[in-house]
């Protein structure tokens, strides 16, 4: 290489180097820079029906915060990628977020399986991590800087069933026999383990305890077998297609237990509610949110839902948004409050604050406890009552999904036995 050319290269290199150093070294320039929050989210694939509404909720929070002047005087910016509901994409997404996009804070995507691959990354880099609806993700790691927003509480396995069995045990005449049934899949199996524990605790007698393959087409033989046992309590842990199948079969076969439902995933979704209509009446099932006076009393929830429902149609997501969106909003709300209070983006300071504080959110007061789960579980038990027809508007107001459990959020009385509310 000729000496002249070397000089030119050196000069160019020097100029670039100086520019880079100047960019890094001027702290005043950062003041107006946005605070960047990064995450992967299931925008396609199996969980996208929940992932997309969750994203909308986080976006609404960002807009709300920026309207008020941002966090620490800096605007908030979201950096997110589609994880395709595929856990294998998660490490790549978060490595890019942290190393290339240089985000300041990270939150998880939606769901247990998508949080699992994030845990080792968070631990290795000592990140404070907010989890969105993960069941027992931190049980094994016990990582102190993980915080999870689903109100499952310190004992996730019994969290779905506890309200159901507590309610059942309180009724007169007190039910004695139980049938439990669920799909051969991860969540239903966990819920059934919890149910068995509770059956023992409440001194009930199991008369039917079976599982079925998730691809079952016809549920009438199962329901008929349950009917033959004459069980007082029927606890079902199912995914959406089987929830619909079991409920229809229960009506066709004329199943008349004293209390029916428990852990049926899918009945909370607007598309299913508006198809099943009056068939839902009487079912006592777990839920996280319902438009009942006790739940609408939380500060900011009405404004949030109004904004969400206005934007839902354009975003092509669940039009009511009662299941996951309030909690997704609360998750970033908690994080934002921690940043404001500590006046810092330091991961450890944030985690210390998150562990010690009770937060006021759109889903009520949130306090984290063991393993970063809610200190006290708050999975609701609701009963569908007086559903007429399949119109969507009836589900916007109170009285259709009455909160029965826990006591402090109760919004109405249980109709007991099941047959009394069924029609």
């Amino acid at each position: 290489m000729k000496p002249q050319r070397i000089r030119r290269w050196a000069l160019t290199g020097g100029v670039i180097g100086a520019l880079v150093l100047a960019g890094l070294g001027v702290p005043t320039a950062r003041a107006a820079e946005p605070i960047r929050i990064g995450f992967g989210m299931a925008l396609t694939g199996g969980l996208s029906a929940n992932g997309k509404p969750a994203l909308l909720a986080v976006q609404i929070w960002k807009d709300d915060v920026n309207k008020r002047g941002g966090l620490l005087g800096r605007p908030v910016e979201l950096v997110y990628y589609d994880d395709q509901t595929n856990p294998a994409t998660v490490p790549g997404i978060y490595t890019k977020l942290l190393d290339v996009d240089k985000v300041d804070l990270v939150i998880s995507g939606y769901g247990t399986n998508l949080i699992a691959p994030l845990m080792p990354i968070a631990m290795e880099r000592k990140l404070t991590i907010m989890g969105m609806f993960g069941l027992a993700n931190n049980e094994k790691y016990q990582y102190p800087n993980y915080f999870q927003i689903q109100p499952a509480g310190p004992d996730p396995q019994t969290s779905t069933a506890i309200g159901f069995f507590e309610l059942a045990a309180k009724q007169t005449p007190r039910p004695q026999t139980v049938a439990i049934v669920g799909a051969d899949a991860e969540y239903p199996q966990n819920a059934l383990v919890g149910a068995r524990e509770l059956i023992k605790k409440f001194g009930l007698k199991t008369v039917y305890d079976r599982t079925y393959p998730p691809s079952t087409v016809d549920y009438t033989p199962i329901v008929r077998a349950i009917k033959a046992t004459n069980a007082d309590i029927v606890f079902v842990a199912s995914y959406p297609p089987d929830s619909v199948g079991m409920l229809r079969a229960a009506h066709e076969v004329g199943l008349q237990p004293k209390i029916f439902g428990g852990g049926m995933v899918g009945l909370q979704f607007t598309s299913v509610m508006t198809s099943m209509g009056p068939m839902l009446n009487g079912v006592v099932n777990y839920d996280f949110w319902a438009p009942e006076p006790t739940m609408l009393a939380f500060p900011g929830i009405k404004e949030f839902l109004k904004e969400y429902q206005a934007r839902a149609e354009k975003a092509g997501v669940d039009p009511l948004g009662y299941y996951l969106p309030p909690y997704s909003y609360a998750l970033v709300q908690v994080l934002g409050q921690a940043v404001e209070a500590t006046k810092s983006l330091d991961q450890q300071k944030l985690a210390d604050y998150l562990r010690a504080t009770e937060f006021n959110t759109v889903v009520g007061k949130v306090k984290f406890g063991k393993n970063g789960e809610w200190a006290k579980g708050r999975t609701l038990m609701v009963q569908y009552q007086k559903v007429h027809g399949t119109g969507i508007d009836q589900f916007r107001g109170p009285g259709k999904k009455v909160v029965l459990y826990p006591e402090e959020l109760k919004s109405g009385a249980i109709v007991y036995p099941y047959s009394a509310a069924k029609n």
């Binding site: 396609t44 694939g45 199996g46 996208s48 029906a49 051969d184 079976r210 599982t211 079925y212 393959p213 691809s215 079952t216 087409v217 016809d218 009438t220 033989p221 199962i222 008929r224 077998a225 959406p240 297609p241 619909v244 199948g245 229809r248 079969a249 009506h251 066709e252 076969v253 004329g254 899918g266 979704f269 598309s271 299913v272 198809s275 099943m276 209509g277 068939m279 092509g316 669940d318 399949t390």
Partner: protein
């Protein structure tokens, strides 16, 4: 037992397309369940938008599906069969079709569970102490009607006999002055048209998402093989056997065994009678 018979009628409806296309034409169309789901979504859209009955929609859409089937077959023929590359590459082609249908449905309608409404869903009649759900009875009757119609088509009409002929001896058919490609196009179209009705029946029985098709691939091919390749009556017999076995196992021994027993029956039947129950 009754529930099993009803389920069998429905299984027959779902498997007829495979029986025709895979059994008679020897084309490994594994995209058939995806066409069934496409039929379910057509029924869903018409039910939601215009309040049309799902099964009526299924019937109205058969010509559309027939054309769709004919186009797909032509594409397959020009690209693979004509060049004699149908075995492995054809399989890959239909895998591709399956994914395209699945992903298109996901993009257009999302991944929410979709259901239809009809006056008879959730009701049942009591026949001699046995409650029979209309939701299962109607699909079963339609399934039986479809089986009968297809059987008559194959045995009584000119095109039907030509389809049987093309499955036996292509060359001989050509010598008789009939164009095997045209006959196969018709048969493929009929097979896909059957998927339109089968899809409508499926969404009447259970909610669907775009990926529901995967639950049915195994059952459909198992029924076709058990019944005997290309035998329409055999398909019905096999579908009923599988339906009854699943139901009885669910009721008496626990539902987790039902699928294992169904496929166990398939294994035993194939060991004893490799051509299938009514196969030639």
């Amino acid at each position: 037992m009754v529930a099993g018979l009803l389920l069998g009628g429905f299984y027959a409806a779902v498997s007829l397309g495979v029986s025709l296309i895979f059994g008679l034409l020897d084309i490994a169309n594994i995209a058939q369940p995806a066409f069934v789901i496409l039929g379910s979504y057509a029924a869903y859209v018409m039910n939601r938008s215009f309040g049309l009955d799902a099964i009526l929609t299924g019937l109205l859409f058969t010509p559309v599906f027939y054309v769709l089937g004919a186009v797909v077959y032509r594409l397959y023929y020009e690209s693979f069969e004509r060049r004699g590359e149908e075995s492995l590459r054809g399989l890959v082609f239909f895998f591709g079709v399956l994914f395209i249908i699945e992903v298109s449905l996901s993009l257009k309608y999302g991944v929410d569970y979709r259901l239809v409404e009809a006056a008879y869903i959730g009701k049942s009649i009591d026949l001699g102490g046995v409650g029979i759900a209309f939701r299962l009875l109607v699909p079963c009757l339609v399934g039986l009607a479809m089986t009968l119609a297809l059987h008559l088509f194959l045995s009584r009409t000119f095109y039907g006999r030509a389809v049987m002929a093309v499955s036996q001896d292509r060359l001989a058919l050509r010598l008789m002055g009939a164009d095997p490609v045209r006959i196969k196009t018709i048969a493929f179209g009929v097979g896909i048209a059957a998927a339109s009705l089968a899809g409508a029946l499926l969404i009447t029985i259970a909610p669907v998402v775009p990926s529901t098709d995967r639950d049915y691939i195994g059952r459909m091919f198992a029924i076709t093989v058990l019944g005997g390749m290309g035998s329409i009556a055999g398909t019905l017999v096999a579908a009923v056997i599988l339906g009854v076995a699943e139901s009885l196992m669910s009721t008496f021994f626990g539902p987790s065994w039902s699928l294992a027993v169904s496929f166990g029956i398939l294994l035993v039947a194939l060991a004893v009678r490799p051509a299938g129950l009514l196969g030639r």
